[in-house]
């Protein structure tokens, strides 16, 4: 038991990070499952982190309420910018969301209340392991239900062929806005959780690099099911720990992983269809 205590004391933050990154990967999975490549999730995470940290520090709100508001705040922003932004598609959407992310970062950098580049420090430790576990479980359950619902099928239809979906009578704009807003909510909650176990937040954590990291997790794991993002986020979080000895070349491996996965595993690591094919082949050989 003492061994476990030592282990937990040492690695709890790492485990927390895995959980928070899983939430982030699921948030971008949601928008990707509707065919939207949005690079705004890091900014949404930042909005959630800053709003929640300020509520805790300045107003002393209770943690559940802080978490909820941490999700609602970016969702409101997403609703506001969603209508004009989501008219764009493909690379234009990616560029617009990237620009939005930069605007958010620069705004936070120049505001007095956010502490500018010095960030906010002294955020109390509120996040506990079960918070993350419960919220992650809830998100997975919710998204799994969503996938099998009418909404999920509409997302799928839009992703496969937007024009056809529109012709089938699906209200494409509304479903896109739903995916975008829900995704921002999850990212915001993840940001709020992260802020309350790392004691400190600063604008640089929510920039372009963070947006790419979140995307990498989902692409690496694969977006054909919910398991993909979970697998991808765990690997991306733990990989640097395992690759410590590579020093400066560590991020080289991250980049290489991204390229290789895109080239050779277009559906990501977790690809049920590929597994079935392998399995089927093996069976065929036996017979």
């Amino acid at each position: 038991m003492e061994w476990f205590n030592d282990f937990w004391s040492t690695y709890s933050t790492l485990v927390f990070s895995v959980g928070v990154h899983a939430l982030l990967a699921l948030s971008i999975w949601l928008t990707l499952s509707c065919g939207l490549l949005s690079l705004a999730n890091a900014a949404f995470m930042g909005i959630g982190a800053y709003v929640s940290a300020l509520l805790t520090l300045q107003l002393g709100w209770s943690f559940p309420l802080v978490l909820l508001t941490g999700g609602i705040a970016p969702a409101v922003v997403a609703l506001l910018i969603g209508a004009p932004v989501l008219r764009l598609s493909g690379v234009y959407l990616a560029m617009a969301t990237l620009a939005f992310g930069e605007v958010v970062r620069i705004t936070v950098l120049n505001l007095e209340i956010t502490g500018g580049p010095e960030g906010l420090n002294g955020i109390p430790l509120e996040t506990e392991g079960w918070h993350i576990a419960a919220l992650l479980a809830l998100t997975i359950y919710g998204l799994a239900r969503l996938r099998r619902s009418k909404v999920g099928r509409a997302f799928e239809a839009i992703k496969e062929d937007e024009v056809a979906a529109r012709l089938m009578g699906i209200n494409v704009d509304r479903y896109k806005l739903l995916a975008f807003t829900l995704g921002s909510f999850i990212a915001g909650v993840a940001g709020a959780l992260n802020a309350h176990f790392t004691f400190f937040i600063s604008p640089r954590e929510y920039g372009f690099e963070a947006a790419v990291d979140i995307l990498t997790m989902a692409v690496l794991g694969g977006i054909s099911s919910l398991i993909g993002p979970l697998l991808g986020s765990s690997i991306i979080t733990l990989l640097p720990e395992l690759l410590r000895s590579l020093h400066d070349y560590r991020s080289f491996v991250n980049g290489a992983v991204l390229v290789l996965v895109v080239l050779f595993l277009p559906k990501g690591l977790w690809d049920p269809r590929r597994f079935r094919k392998w399995f089927g082949k093996a069976k065929g050989a036996e017979a």
């Binding site: 030592d6 933050t13 990070s17 010095e118 410590r244």
Partner: protein
């Protein structure tokens, strides 16, 4: 999950081969050894290694050798926390030096403070660092102790009437330096003609400098990192600006003149350390550093080197019991009284003035050196 790090293996090897009956004092070093802040982190680590070698060569502290457990915190906040937790709960070190940047300190410091373990910063100058709690210490001199003297000296020397200001507004270090400059300029009633900003990665400062030139200041106050500052100096001279510069801690790097050559003539800078300080402790440090690492030491190495000597001075008065919690507490109680005469001159601690009124940690109580730049070199300023 993680394989046994090399440092632990090394320490166990040392422990086996070590002096009989005397125990090793494990001290954690968490600095940014890779990534953008590595240029500071590596120098600091070198300073620690040099000091540890010296202390161990003289028989250690009360017969106990110092064993450094060195970890890379990459200047990332999560990594800082992970490394701190590993050092505290797994390696069970007596105390931790680091992290390199204030950002990481704000994230990792509370972990050490909550675990009742001394955390000692050697390069963290931000406000509020020692507000974290009574287990936080630093020997890094804050800008608010240096800049008033720098500005006053420069004002007297150049008979300044008005100055322009330029700073990096997306970097915690340069922004907090600017905040101090702003306060100092107000206090010393020196009017500011214009305040300009830039962001990290900017390399073209001509728009801002043209504006500064138009405002015709007597000097340019610059809260910038050395490399940015050097480019700003070069571009300012390129635009025909003749006014001298006044710099913060970011100027304290040989890089400044490697790049700016003679563009920085007449610049005023304050620093906690001077490589030309003729005090014997400093001369010995500079010589030993050159011999061990084959390069010139800088301020960060000097502060790391002094920090370990400060801890060693405190540990002389601590009777180690082997109970790690009790030993950590004893060190925390002994450290505030420690004084040394080191590479950075005479050093002692003073209690931090916290914003909240709660008991805080301990800041450096040290006088800075004021330099003027002559012939592309920092020379100690002589008011005569």
């Amino acid at each position: 999950m993680r394989f046994m790090p090399k440092s632990i293996a090394l320490i166990s090897a040392l422990a086996c081969a070590g002096v009989a009956q005397a125990a090793d004092i494990k001290i954690g070093i968490a600095e940014a050894l890779t990534g953008g802040a590595a240029q500071y982190g590596v120098a600091i680590r070198n300073g620690f290694q040099l000091a540890a070698d010296e202390i161990n060569a003289k028989g250690g502290i009360n017969g106990n050798k110092i064993a450094l457990v060195i970890e890379d915190e990459q200047a990332k906040k999560e990594e800082g926390i992970n490394v701190f937790k590993k050092l505290i709960f797994q390696d069970k070190v007596l105390m931790i030096f680091g992290p390199t940047l204030s950002n990481s300190f704000f994230a990792a410091g509370p972990v050490a403070n909550a675990a009742k373990t001394v955390v000692f910063g050697t390069s963290v100058t931000a406000n509020g660092i020692t507000d974290i709690g009574p287990y936080t210490f630093r020997n890094s001199v804050m800008e608010s102790d240096v800049l008033p003297i720098t500005v006053a000296t420069a004002t007297k020397h150049y008979k300044l009437q008005k100055v322009a200001v330029i700073y990096g507004n997306d970097d915690a270090f340069t922004k907090s330096g600017y905040d101090v400059f702003k306060k100092v300029l107000e206090e010393q009633k020196l009017p500011v003609t214009t305040t300009e900003t830039y962001v990290k990665g900017d390399v073209d400062f001509k728009a801002q400098l043209t504006k500064i030139k138009g405002s015709n200041p007597d000097a340019i106050v610059c809260s910038c990192l050395a490399e940015e500052a050097a480019n700003i100096m070069l571009q300012a001279r390129g635009l025909g600006i003749k006014a001298p510069f006044i710099g913060g801690n970011g100027f304290n790097s040989p890089k400044l003149f490697e790049i700016s050559k003679l563009a920085g003539e007449g610049t005023f800078v304050g620093s906690p350390w001077s490589n030309t300080n003729p005090a014997p402790a400093n001369k010995a440090f500079v010589a030993a550093y050159q011999q061990k690492f084959g390069s010139e030491p800088n301020q960060f190495a000097a502060q790391g080197y002094d920090a370990l000597h400060i801890a060693a001075a405190a540990l002389k008065d601590v009777k180690l019991s082997g109970d790690i919690a009790a030993d950590r507490e004893a060190l925390k109680n002994a450290l505030p009284k420690a004084t040394i005469n080191g590479a950075t001159g005479p050093f002692k601690f003073r209690p931090a003035q916290t914003k909240t009124g709660k008991p805080g940690g301990w800041d450096a109580d040290q006088k800075p050196f004021i330099y003027i730049v002559k012939g592309g070199k920092f020379t100690l300023y002589d008011s005569k």
